[in-house]
Symmetry: C2
Subunit: 205 residues, 2 copies
DNA sequence: ATATATTTTAACCAAATAGTTAACAAAGTA
DNA sequence: TACTTTGTTAACTATTTGGTTAAAATATAT
């Protein structure tokens, strides 16, 4: 019988704790002490593994951004037909976000605090959404006459809005509608099918 | 010729400065010194007019929340027919938010940081969205057969997502699409008509 | 076993930051 | 004018917080 290592290394504990604290409090609201407590270690250890709060934050933020965008691009830039792409996108996106519901708000908020820093320095632009191909595809379908004459840009914004916003407004939605965690998840599950149906019903001829 | 007072009172200067700083940096990222500088006054004056950072923040946050929700409710609860309500909502909402584009992200983010505090203590629930009547109205239309068999809840979420998200993601959108302020505003202007068209095309029989 | 390198901690430090105080200035009032 | 209230400031204080240090504990190599 081989012994399998299940204990987290200190670095993993730190990263998990940092992720939790940064995502719930944001960069400026997070305290190094809170992260240390959450990880069950001494504060000095944070600085031993990651030099500063900024460095630690950068790791967490990049990981979050990686999770948010690359998958979007791989779908946007694939060769699927339009309707299938729309279905695939909301399915995939909601699946990933259901496991990390606070991620979109976290990323959007940090970007908003200092767009310059985040959008230029931290990212190579390969991580950013590249909707070009998707936009062209819509335009082509419009010209072919297979869908109604819709604005590609607005259709893009619609697809993303419908998929992302329910996560950004999670707390709000749960509170105003009185939903517990399970009910919320169930509704997000439904949306995987609801969104493409809603969109396709609107644009198909 | 009567002299008209155009100078701001100190209190107004503070509120304007606090609004600007809090909305761009958030509660935890904002510095009292920044607010004082922005208002062109001494830091001690902030404490003279508002006792603490928290008190000052509460004023700003409430004002922001007031602007965000009551109008929504007055539309949701009016007696307009459904389609007109949808048109009216996106028109009204986008008009208000175009003047305060960072407001939704600010409010959603602060709520997220501490839902308990914000949603219970600070608000009397009269400010929160009350979508009940709107949901019932949709259900009625479905039963009458005037629109397709859609989920009222998802339709509600769709309308709000489509209207609010483009403001929440403003920085992101501008950066990835390379839009300046004017172009962004123009697109939001278009959305006032695009959103209701998009929705109604989807649900009408 | 001994020595060396790595990991972890408690105690400390310096900078940042919310909040206070006491004195001064301006405006209102008798 | 004298006096009181209101508004404003510079300088200061207390606390929070990111970061450091030096020593102890643990693991690793010889």
């Amino acid at each position: 019988m081989v012994k399998i290592k299940t204990e987290k290394t200190t670095e993993e504990k730190i990263l998990a704790a940092a992720k939790k604290v940064f995502i719930s409090k944001g960069m400026s609201g997070a305290r190094m002490q809170d992260i240390a407590d959450e990880a069950g270690i001494n504060k000095a250890l944070l600085h031993y593994y990651f030099r500063s709060k900024e460095k630690l934050f950068e790791v967490i933020f990049l990981e979050a951004a990686q999770k948010l965008f690359p998958k979007i691009n791989s779908i946007f830039e694939s060769d699927m037909p339009l309707f299938q792409k729309i279905e695939h996108f909301s399915e995939e996106y909601i699946t990933v976000m259901a496991e990390n519901p606070y991620l979109p708000l976290f990323v959007l908020n940090e970007i908003n605090q200092d767009p310059e820093t985040f959008l230029n320095k931290i990212w190579g632009k390969q991580n950013l959404p590249r909707p070009q191909k998707f936009l062209e595809q819509i335009e082509k379908e419009v010209r072919k006459g297979t869908i109604k004459k819709v604005s590609p840009l607005h259709l893009l914004m619609n697809l993303i809005s419908l998929s992302v916003f329910p996560f950004v407004a999670k707390s709000m939605i749960q509170f105003t509608l009185g939903l517990d965690e399970l009910q919320y998840r169930a509704i997000m599950e439904q949306r995987k099918k609801e969104i493409p149906k809603f969109i396709i019903d609107s644009i198909k001829k």
